[in-house]
């Protein structure tokens, strides 16, 4: 623990990452109190102040119906973070279970499970999510589902590879010799040894889930207005370039900031937990 802290705090980049993510999480959680215009998260119109360049009190300017972009970004963070949590909470258990079973039991089960995983992996992730979203009704829930569907195979593949190497380790053999059940070996013996890798991947993925989800909503396939969403803000604002640049640039940078933060932390974790890429 002391060593972890040392590594984390020694590197200014990890400190930066912690700070960025911390600020974003706080701002999202307390958006109602932090945002200068908390009611601008929803359907509000202010035609006296629409399409304004950044100026006080509109830090990042206003959108086409006069809503404060800064406030909307804070609320959009809330959606992004929720999405990240939900997607990982669904995708990781599924992927880990599939990977464990395929890697440990082997044989025909392994073949079938890993071929299914391959099918999912051989459609470019964005295309898979997009085609699902296009066919379903675009909404936050469906967006989460689509991203989950494209995400679990990566965990299946990771845990499968880990399990295959752990399977030959002494402690697994020992557990098998004393007659532990398969379930016990998989979840009690092998899984704990995969945790560092899974944890690191999750941290980095948190940022990427946000990134992919914003790509979907950029294409009009994710969170629906008037709920603020970073991707759709960029897409909507892109029509007004270069005159109303603030409509796109700030939400775009907002994505960058949060994903960057998670990546920095993920990098540090990788070092602390000694996980290879």
């Amino acid at each position: 623990m002391k060593r972890a802290l040392f590594i984390l705090l020694r590197n200014p980049l990890s400190v930066l990452g912690l700070t960025l993510v911390g600020l974003v999480v706080l701002a999202a959680v307390f958006a109602d109190y932090v945002a200068p215009f908390p009611d601008h998260k929803g359907a509000v119109v202010d035609f006296l102040n629409f399409n304004k360049a950044p100026e006080w009190p509109y830090l990042f300017g206003t959108d086409l119906v006069g809503r404060d972009i800064f406030s909307r970004i804070l609320f959009a963070y809330r959606i992004s973070l929720t999405l990240g949590v939900v997607v990982l909470a669904l995708a990781v258990p599924v992927g880990v279970t599939v990977g464990l079973i395929a890697g440990y039991i082997g044989g025909r089960t392994e073949f079938v499970l890993m071929r299914i995983t391959d099918v999912f992996l051989s459609i470019p992730p964005l295309v898979l999510a997009m085609s699902m979203m296009g066919l379903l009704e675009p909404s936050l829930t469906n967006g989460m589902m689509a991203v989950t569907v494209m995400w679990w195979p990566w965990y299946a593949r990771l845990v499968y590879n880990l399990t295959r190497s752990e399977r030959e380790e002494g402690y697994v053999l020992a557990a098998e010799v004393i007659g532990a059940s398969r379930l016990h070996v998989m979840f009690r013996e092998i899984l704990p040894n995969c945790v560092p890798s899974i944890l690191t991947k999750m941290t980095i993925d948190f940022g990427f889930v946000i990134l992919i989800a914003s790509s979907l909503s950029f294409l009009g396939l994710g969170v629906q207005p008037p709920t603020p969403d970073l991707g759709s803000m960029v897409a909507e604002g892109a029509k007004y370039l270069p005159d109303s640049w603030w409509l796109t640039v700030f939400p775009g940078l907002a994505i960058l900031v949060v994903v960057f933060g998670f990546n920095l932390i993920g990098d540090a974790l990788r070092e602390i937990l000694g996980v290879d890429q």
């Binding site: 035609f47 399409n51 086409l64 675009p138």
Partner: protein
């Protein structure tokens, strides 16, 4: 000007161009939303219409600067009860060199009806078309049907001989009716021929030297119609001088920036209106009082300011009723709608539903981002009278699906409707006749005997004056029933460079009352 002298003038102009300086070829560059549908039997959108009006010709065309239709491929026509007889011009040749005959007209009609797509619904009440002789065509309608002549603006005449040479796979004598081929090729007689066509990217057109009216030298030699350019792209291309006319789909802010940079604005009005439709088949808008409440609550003037481009030009104009201002039956003296919160509250008080129990779904079509602003505005207005509402973005395909059942149809939907052929019947019948419920045009599900009878009378009468009176009465009835918020007349605004003048879109006296007809390239002038 009568035909022969006009022809003469045209040929004089043409020869003047020949002896004149061999000036550089002029190219007109404009854009539209994808895709560009080249097959005239499938065309529906604005881009398709531009292609249709330039590559193909029709029996009649809208009159310039006034309502009504003038002969075009047809020299004249007569109506006798259910039958319409057209006499064709003898001097028209297709771009292939084939002569245009009555057979081609019949083929074009049959093809349209067989494919059952595009504008074919305008001809649902037509029984048949027959060639009386090589230059005479007779159409028979199922009942006296006045809007038929207007509908002919949407029946481009296709070169039968050429199409028959290119039939693809299919069943029956006509196989695929040449659909496969006409997707990428043309068989028209129009002033422009297609040089290349990519439905998603670009259509390039060039003057047809054999056009029966001749094409003036000042008209663009070449036209590049591009599809799917982003607003920001168009904005920059125009300001760099690499684009000439924008589409009307630019957001007002972008048009504003271009106008500020000194580019001119072209407008097309009187063809379309924004209808905010209330579902009369489910609560709360099955109660007329509730409908009147929301009609009075809507802030019409902010709605127009919201889409204003400059102080004088806006994408919206005040509405006076169900018929766009200037259309047949629109009352020129009718007052424009205004927000009246007192009246709204009074109507709301009489409504059988309590405001606190309502949660009105305000939908907007995802493909039309401008509608989001109207939804937000309406939501703010409903708040003013204490009605809660919820905004929903609906993609177009989902919307057309939803409206097929009244219970799935949102309380409030927004649709821009265009007269298509300029006739009031085309506009109103499919919106308000009780038999028409369940399409994107009729999410009101209006069922009213008086409206039905007026609509039926209107299409049966052969007299322009009588029709006008009938529609005036209908308009009054539709205002009283309030199935719709007649939010604003839509004005299409295009930004354009000084390199081109488009009289039909710049001078109201030269405007056509059919959407996209202003984009008849042969009537444009290039200033290189």
């Amino acid at each position: 000007m009568n035909m022969p002298s006009r022809l003469l003038a045209a040929s004089l102009l043409a020869s003047a161009a020949l002896v004149g300086v061999a000036s550089a070829e002029t190219t007109l560059r404009l854009d539209e939303t994808p895709i560009g549908e080249l097959d005239p039997a499938k065309a529906t959108d604005y881009a398709d219409s531009i292609l249709m009006f330039n590559v193909y010709d029709t029996l009649v065309i809208p009159k310039q600067g006034e309502a009504g239709y003038q002969p075009f491929l047809a020299e004249s026509w007569t109506q006798d009860g259910n039958s319409f007889t057209f006499k064709l011009r003898p001097d028209v040749k297709f771009q292939s060199g084939n002569a245009l005959t009555a057979d081609d007209v019949v083929f074009s009609f049959d093809r349209m009806m067989a494919i059952k797509s595009g504008f074919s619904f305008l001809f649902d009440n037509v029984e048949k078309a027959e060639a009386v002789d090589a230059s005479t065509v007779k159409f028979t309608t199922k009942f006296p049907y006045a809007p038929f002549v207007a509908a002919l603006v949407r029946l481009p005449i296709v070169d039968k001989k050429l199409v028959m040479e290119h039939l693809g796979d299919g069943e029956g004598e006509m196989k695929d009716w040449g659909q496969g081929w006409l997707n990428l090729h043309t068989a028209g007689s129009g002033a422009y021929s297609v040089v290349s066509h990519d439905p998603q990217a670009e259509t390039v057109m060039a003057k047809n030297p054999g056009y029966f009216l001749g094409v003036p030298a000042v008209a663009p030699d070449k036209v590049r119609l591009r599809y799917g350019l982003e607003a920001a792209t168009v904005r920059t291309l125009i300001s760099r001088g690499e684009h000439d006319i924008s589409s009307q789909w630019l957001p007002p802010e972008v048009l504003k920036s271009l106008s500020k940079d000194g580019f001119k604005l072209l407008t097309e009005s009187g063809t379309a209106q924004l209808y905010i439709k209330l579902n009369t088949a489910k609560p709360p808008f099955d109660d007329q009082e509730c409908r009147l409440a929301i009609v009075n609550a809507f802030d019409y003037s902010t709605g127009i300011k919201m889409v204003a481009v400059t102080d004088t030009v806006s994408q919206g104009a005040p509405s006076t009723g169900a018929i766009p201002v200037g259309g047949m039956g629109a009352d020129p003296d009718a007052p424009a709608f205004k927000q009246d919160l007192e009246a709204a509250k009074a109507h709301l008080a009489k409504c059988k539903y309590k405001p606190e129990d309502m949660n009105v779904e305000l939908s907007w079509i995802g493909e039309v981002p401008l509608e989001e602003r109207f939804a937000l505005l309406l939501q703010a207005n409903l708040n003013q009278i204490g009605v809660k509402s919820e905004i929903k973005k609906v993609p177009w395909t989902l919307f057309t699906e939803q409206v097929t059942k009244p219970e799935n149809t949102p309380n409030v939907s927004q649709v821009f409707v265009d007269t298509m052929d300029g006739d009031t019947d085309t506009l109103l019948y499919s919106m308000y006749h009780s038999s028409a419920g369940g399409t994107w045009m009729s999410p009101e599900y209006l069922k009213d005997a008086e409206v039905d009878s007026l609509l039926d009378k209107g299409r049966a009468s052969a007299s322009e004056a009588e029709r006008s009176e009938i529609y005036k009465a209908l308009d009054k009835r539709l205002i009283a029933l309030a199935p719709t918020i007649y939010a604003q007349n839509q004005r299409a605004v295009f930004a354009a460079s000084d390199k081109v003048s488009v009289p039909a879109l710049e001078d109201p006296a030269k405007a056509f009352r059919v959407a996209a007809f202003g984009f008849t390239f042969r009537l444009m002038e290039m200033h290189p």
